[in-house]
């Protein structure tokens, strides 16, 4: 028999018993809804993590000294940091930097209180920072009073009367620095330990004199492709333990951060999976119940159809299609519920909402399978009825 006619008949007969069908649907809806929500939240979490690191790249590492004890802040020796790519297998590039803070004075007025980053020539590239004007700090600026300003600092300078920040003199502590470049604005990343837009970049050699310390306290680095973050982290830690045994360094990697974020969502997903599977079983049993009642109620119809030439298989597929249709209707509402729930979750967590088509497809597939699995026995029962006995029933 044509599938279309069968589906139509299934809808008609389900509609005729709408209360019962509706009750059976609740379980399926909640079950599929949970599955969809689980998968969507998982996908969104992953997407969220990747999005956060799309600008920065997932091969990003930050290395910083831990504050161990008092006294002159110890630091990483510049040459140790610079030698990282040559001395280790896992690091492709490294940019040591130091951080201080100073009032920014322009034209006799204090215009900002900005982080002052002492950087090397590799800093911009490594952090994927770009310039809108002028040039970058290079290693040739050794101990000179040149600086590159972040987008917000440049804006403050302009407000203070500097038409074009490049070439203007600004005072940091007791030194007059000439602005040689302006950074393009870049999104703040939770992984990046500084905020480029608000910062002022000066040569690290200059910074170490402006803010006296024995070495840099931070390094950002990039791993070579296909290096695992645990290997890189270990190698870098070992390297510094060798070079500076008294120094305690912490290495953080973007990949590890992503993994942590994913682990957090996993707990949530597991909970939803548990709710989902229990509801699906409850829903499936509901579907089975509806179908069993339907078969009993429609014994006469089965007898008539058999008399008119329906084979057992025709009857079986008719009832199976009916239970599949019932489950699929539940599936559709479940998908809507799941997507809606995800929407609400995203609204409150501030994550970017998106619909995972794979999750929706899976929701369909699961509800289809529930229909087949729980509809099979009732359909078989219908098919095995003796035509005469079925015809005689009221």
């Amino acid at each position: 028999m044509a599938l279309k006619a069968n589906v139509k008949e299934a809808v008609v007969s389900l509609y005729a018993a709408k209360q019962r069908s509706l009750l059976a649907l609740i379980g399926i809806v909640i079950g599929i809804g949970s599955v969809i929500a689980m998968l969507s939240v998982g996908t969104i979490a992953k997407h969220q993590a990747l999005e956060r690191f799309r600008e920065l790249g997932t091969d990003y590492l930050t290395i910083r000294t831990r504050n161990v004890d008092q006294g002159t802040p110890s630091g990483i020796r510049l040459e140790d940091a610079v030698a990282l790519p040559e001395e280790t297998k896992s690091i492709a590039g490294a940019a040591p930097w130091s951080q201080g803070r100073a009032a920014v004075v322009y034209g006799g007025k204090k215009i900002a209180d900005a982080p002052v980053l002492g950087v090397t020539g590799t800093f911009l590239d490594l952090n994927r920072l770009r310039l809108v004007d002028g040039r970058a700090i290079s290693d040739l600026d050794f101990r000179r009073a040149h600086c590159v300003v972040g987008a917000q600092v440049a804006a403050s300078l302009q407000r203070a009367g500097a038409k074009k920040p490049v070439g203007e003199p600004i005072r940091l502590k007791d030194r007059i620095c000439t602005v040689v470049g302006v950074l393009r604005t870049s999104p703040k990343s939770s992984m990046q330990p500084f905020e480029a837009d608000r910062s002022i970049l000066i040569p690290v050699s200059t910074a170490l004199r402006l803010f006296p310390r024995r070495g840099v306290n931070q390094v950002v680095a990039r791993m070579r492709p296909e290096v695992h973050h645990t290997a890189a982290t270990k190698e870098v830690s070992d390297y510094f333990r060798r070079k500076a045994p008294r120094l305690a360094v912490t290495v953080r990697s973007a990949q590890k951060l992503i993994e942590q974020m994913q682990r957090q969502t996993q707990t949530f997903a597991l909970l939803l999976a548990a709710i989902g599977s229990i509801s699906l079983i409850v829903g499936g049993v509901g579907v089975m119940n509806v179908m069993l009642v339907s078969v009993t109620e429609r014994r006469k119809e089965i007898g008539i159809r058999r008399a008119l030439g329906a084979r057992r298989l025709d009857i079986q597929s008719q009832f199976l299609i009916e239970s599949i249709v019932l489950s699929l209707i539940g599936g559709v509402f479940g998908i809507l519920l799941g997507v809606g729930g995800t929407r609400i979750f995203c609204h409150f967590s501030g994550w970017q909402f998106l619909v995972d088509p794979v999750a929706a497809a899976l929701g369909f597939a699961v509800s289809f399978c529930v229909g087949v699995f729980f509809g099979f026995q009732p359909a078989r029962q219908a098919a095995r009825l003796d035509p005469i006995a079925a015809l005689r029933s009221a």
Binding site: M1, K4, A307, G309, A310
Partner: protein
């Protein structure tokens, strides 16, 4: 084309057994127009169900077109019911949720017939029984006689070789009953084999062969009416 030999049918009711058919012999050839008369409870419907491959006799042999029916698979019996047998049930047996047209279309659903073709055939069958203006009605929106005519249309729609009609005129007024018998005669003229169960001697009168069922046996009326 169909041959019944010593067909018996017993029912078990609690501890007792009731033998409804006690050795029925019947031979029906292609193009026959047979009536079966008998008292209520004499086993007419039981016999019809056996002839129509719906029920199985307790014993005896039944061959259809030379093939023994008892050895056929369920699928084969279903296929024969669908292709070669048209049932008009005593209590109509229409599906209450379907319209007249959909009810008539049912036998064709179990064949490889296109939707448009099914509709065409079903409308044609309804027209033959004078129900073409009630195609969209559900059974409970039809009178008993109208339901009976829809049931007849459903039996005819698949152009079966044999039509088994259990009191096809029971719910009809004499005129409409007459029309139906004329339709049957016309079908018979086209080569359809008809077996009609009836209480009405006038209906039986219009059948070429008349049989009577009683005491579990079938007896042929020998004298042919004018």
């Amino acid at each position: 084309m169909l041959r019944l030999r010593d067909i018996r049918k017993t029912y078990r009711v609690g501890p007792a057994t009731v033998e409804v058919l006690r050795g029925v012999d019947l031979e029906v050839n292609r193009g026959d127009f047979v009536s079966i008369m008998g008292a209520s409870g004499s086993g007419k419907s039981t016999l019809m169900n056996i002839i129509g491959l719906l029920d199985k006799p307790s014993s005896g042999s039944y061959s259809l077109d030379g093939r023994e029916v008892s050895s056929m698979t369920d699928n084969r019996r279903s296929a024969i019911r669908n292709a070669s047998i048209g049932f008009v049930f005593q209590s109509f047996h229409l599906l209450p949720r379907l319209t007249a047209l959909e009810n008539v279309r049912l036998p064709l659903m179990y064949r490889d017939t296109g939707a448009a073709e099914m509709d065409r055939c079903a409308r044609g069958a309804l027209r033959r029984v004078g129900m073409e203006d009630r195609t969209g009605h559900k059974p409970n929106e039809l009178s008993g006689g109208q339901q009976q005519r829809v049931a007849i249309a459903r039996a005819l729609v698949g152009e079966p070789a044999i039509v088994l009609a259990d009191e096809p005129t029971g719910a009809l007024d004499p005129t409409t009953g007459n029309d139906i018998m004329e339709l049957f005669a016309e079908l018979n003229g086209d080569g359809t084999t008809l077996i009609v169960i009836t209480h009405d001697p006038e209906v039986a009168q219009r059948c070429a062969r008349r049989t009577h069922i009683g005491d579990g046996g079938l007896r042929e009326e020998t004298a042919s009416a004018p």
